[in-house]
């Protein structure tokens, strides 16, 4: 009994919202004395105008897909996992250990090993808050915030005092061996005769992220577990009536969530930096929250939102590179995009609905 046709809901509403955000951003750019049209131009060509730009956009998007999915799956069970940041950081540790201490013969095996390592470490970091939520009723929001801080301290210790090679000032691990070097989009597309920028960091873990989106879609909408997670999220009393154990669902959901966040490390740690540095997650865990919310906790929505944020990141980097616009402008633009597409969507939807209702009555 929807008022609007589905295409309007899925395409028109976000598009108009984005437009509004763009208009407001343009005003801000004008206010700081720059040319908005040129800025937009620069962002679009910089992020989407070349394979190089795409390479960075997709690299960032890969990170956001993992963390966005992590938040999204937890949301399906009505759990608010703010701990993506810490879980991804621990995932980085897992990936680093796997890459450094196992002599991988080939990257194909290494990426599997690293994905498992990252997932296990990320899941382990989610396990304690999950257990506390399920068994002791400790609020997941507080515990995951705390675990982000604890993760930062732990990684600091590990990188400064344990894994840092002697004589290196940089608090980071040694470089991973050449054998675990992941193919970039350049390497992957070359056999097909497609020239893709060599310099961009987007790599095969993009496919892993896309696979995770598809996998999660199947999990949520096509499996018994997903059915149970959604049911639990909608109504705990009903779930109990149906014989769905809350403890089990909370644990499993948050472990999957933590594992997804941890797998992000295959992209930023293994694919890009090829070593583990301090603060390798750089807020992607928090962006994941925005991505999941904007993607309405749906894997495909997350996919789109992640690309949008990848675009903003890369476009913003180009802007900072070629203009004197302060980098904080990008943060403002992100804020406006989040606000208009995520929170003020009804401002667009309500008049549209009225319009469609009128058209229906006349038609």
């Amino acid at each position: 009994m929807d008022v609007m046709p589905k295409w309007a809901e899925v395409v028109l509403v976000p598009l108009i919202s984005l437009l509004l955000a763009a208009v407001l951003s343009a005003l801000v750019i004008l206010a700081i004395g720059e040319d908005p049209i040129e800025a937009v131009n620069l962002m679009i060509t910089g992020a989407l105008g070349s394979t190089y730009g795409w390479g960075y956009t997709l690299y960032y998007a890969t990170n956001f897909m993992f963390t966005g999915l992590a938040v999204a799956i937890a949301f399906q069970a009505r759990l608010f996992n703010i701990g993506g940041e810490g879980q991804a950081a621990l995932g980085g540790l897992g990936v680093a250990l796997v890459c450094l201490y196992i002599p991988w013969p080939h990257w194909t095996l290494a990426i599997l090993g690293a994905a498992i390592g990252g997932a296990v470490f990320g899941a382990a970091w989610a396990a304690i808050p999950a257990y506390l939520q399920a068994k002791r009723g400790s609020h997941i929001v507080i515990t995951t915030i705390m675990f982000n801080f604890i993760a930062a301290a732990l990684l600091n210790y590990v990188l400064v005092s344990v894994l840092r090679p002697a004589g290196q000032m940089d608090p980071a691990t040694a470089r991973f061996p050449e054998a675990v070097h992941l193919p970039t989009l350049h390497d992957m597309l070359a056999p097909f005769g497609i020239a893709f920028s060599k310099a961009a960091p987007a790599n095969i873990s993009l496919l892993l992220a896309v696979a995770a989106c598809v996998f999660l879609w199947f999990l949520i909408w096509r499996t018994k577990l997903g059915f149970e997670i959604r049911a639990f999220g909608q109504s705990e009393p009903a779930a109990q009536y149906a014989g769905i154990a809350p403890t089990r669902i909370i644990m499993i959901t948050l472990l999957i969530s933590g594992a997804l966040a941890g797998m992000m490390a295959t992209n930023n740690v293994m694919g890009e930096a090829e070593r583990l540095v301090l603060n390798s997650v750089e807020g992607a865990g928090f962006i994941g929250i925005a991505v999941a919310l904007m993607g309405r906790s749906h894997p495909f929505g997350v996919f789109i939102a992640a690309i949008l944020f990848g675009f903003l990141y890369q476009g913003g980097a180009e802007l900072a590179l070629w203009t004197s616009i302060p980098r904080e402008l990008i943060v403002v633009i992100q804020a406006l995009v989040i606000l208009f597409t995520g929170a003020l969507d009804n401002m667009v939807r309500m008049p549209l609905e009225r319009l469609f209702l009128m058209m229906r009555k006349e038609g």
Binding site: G137, F149, A153, E328, I338, L344
Partner: protein, 323 residues
């Protein structure tokens, strides 16, 4: 070391660290008690910290600065209100957006106004809140036991600290002893009950969000004009999130909010005094472990002693009567 004096110093530091948390926590309490979740506390504090410092720097009057800080925080509150009350948008998203908006805008404007790299000039003289010396503090200074307690711990804070502590009983009274409080709590539990009783849900929620803005404004001003003498980018440094954690910890109750934020403040104070920890435990605490300590302690306390926190029932959901 003089254990008593050390204790006083520790508690003194606790009070300073707890004050911004307490103000933000009470701010969140009003909003969430009225059913509007607010993870934008951090952003509001930051915006207020900037505008109060900026205007205080320009006018040389910290009170005008405070008003400006409150005003900035109120503007962000209004955005949150319009998004989540008027347009029934997602409250979490709106909060996230506000945090980003504040983080970016403060630096952008600071750079445009002062060209000091997102900082304000240092505040001097009347541009900042000076410590208040309470009556007889000087005279009592040398009285054993009570002297240090009164002089060091109770006296000598900025006026905003006393304001924050006074806000606790005031909040309690407002929530539980006035008509406004009754309605505010009701609208967070069951807005339909308020609506059918002939009271405006929207009006109440906007009022709550506005109070939240005022308190966040004071919290931000405290950071930049009382604790510090100027604004530095990102200076809220996650305190808004810790305040949120404290709010859940306190189960949305004013006095518990005081205890929770004091506890967080104490952990923060202990972190600055590894020597005290060493004296008490007899162990030297390794640096990174020390940084993690407040958070580890919180988790342990949460898991061990605090039961399930049940949020206001209508929290986070926009009030929709027709769809």
């Amino acid at each position: 070391m003089d254990m008593y004096l050390t204790l006083i110093q520790l508690l003194d530091s606790t009070v300073r660290l707890a004050t911004p948390l307490l103000l933000a926590c009470l701010a969140g309490l009003y909003s969430e008690r009225a059913g509007i979740f607010d993870i934008g506390l951090e952003g509001k504090m930051l915006a207020a910290a900037f505008f109060s410092a900026a205007i205080a720097a320009i006018t040389g009057n910290v009170w005008i600065g405070l008003m400006a800080g409150i005003g900035a925080s109120l503007v962000l509150s209004a955005v949150h209100g319009v998004a989540s009350i008027t347009f029934r948008g997602n409250q979490l998203i709106s909060g996230v957006a506000i945090n980003f908006l504040a983080a970016g805008m403060t630096v952008l404007i600071a750079q445009a106004w002062f060209k000091q790299g997102g900082r304000t000039p240092s505040l001097i003289g009347n541009g900042r809140f000076e410590p208040v010396t309470l009556p007889f503090a000087e005279a009592m200074q040398d009285v054993p036991i009570l002297g240090p307690l009164y002089y060091e711990l109770i006296s000598g804070h900025s006026i905003l600290v006393y304001l924050a502590f006074a806000a606790v009983p005031l909040t309690w009274w407002l929530l539980f002893r006035t008509r406004f409080g009754l309605r505010l709590r009701a609208v967070g539990e069951n807005p339909a009950a308020v609506d059918t009783a002939g009271v405006s849900v929207v009006g109440l929620r906007f009022a709550a969000v506005a109070i939240c803005g005022v308190l966040c404004g004071i919290a931000g001003a405290y950071l930049s004009t009382a604790l510090q003498a100027g604004f530095v980018k990102d200076m809220a440094a996650g305190r808004g999130f810790i305040a949120l954690a404290a709010l859940i910890f306190a189960k949305w109750r004013p006095w518990h909010a005081l205890y929770a934020t004091l506890l967080f403040g104490l952990f923060g104070a202990l972190e600055t005094r590894p020597d005290v920890i060493q004296t008490i435990t007899g162990m030297r605490v390794q640096g990174q472990l020390l940084s993690a300590l407040p958070y580890v302690m919180t988790v342990i306390i949460l898991a061990g002693f605090v039961g399930k926190a049940i949020p206001p029932r209508a929290g986070g959901e926009p009030y929709v009567k027709e769809r």
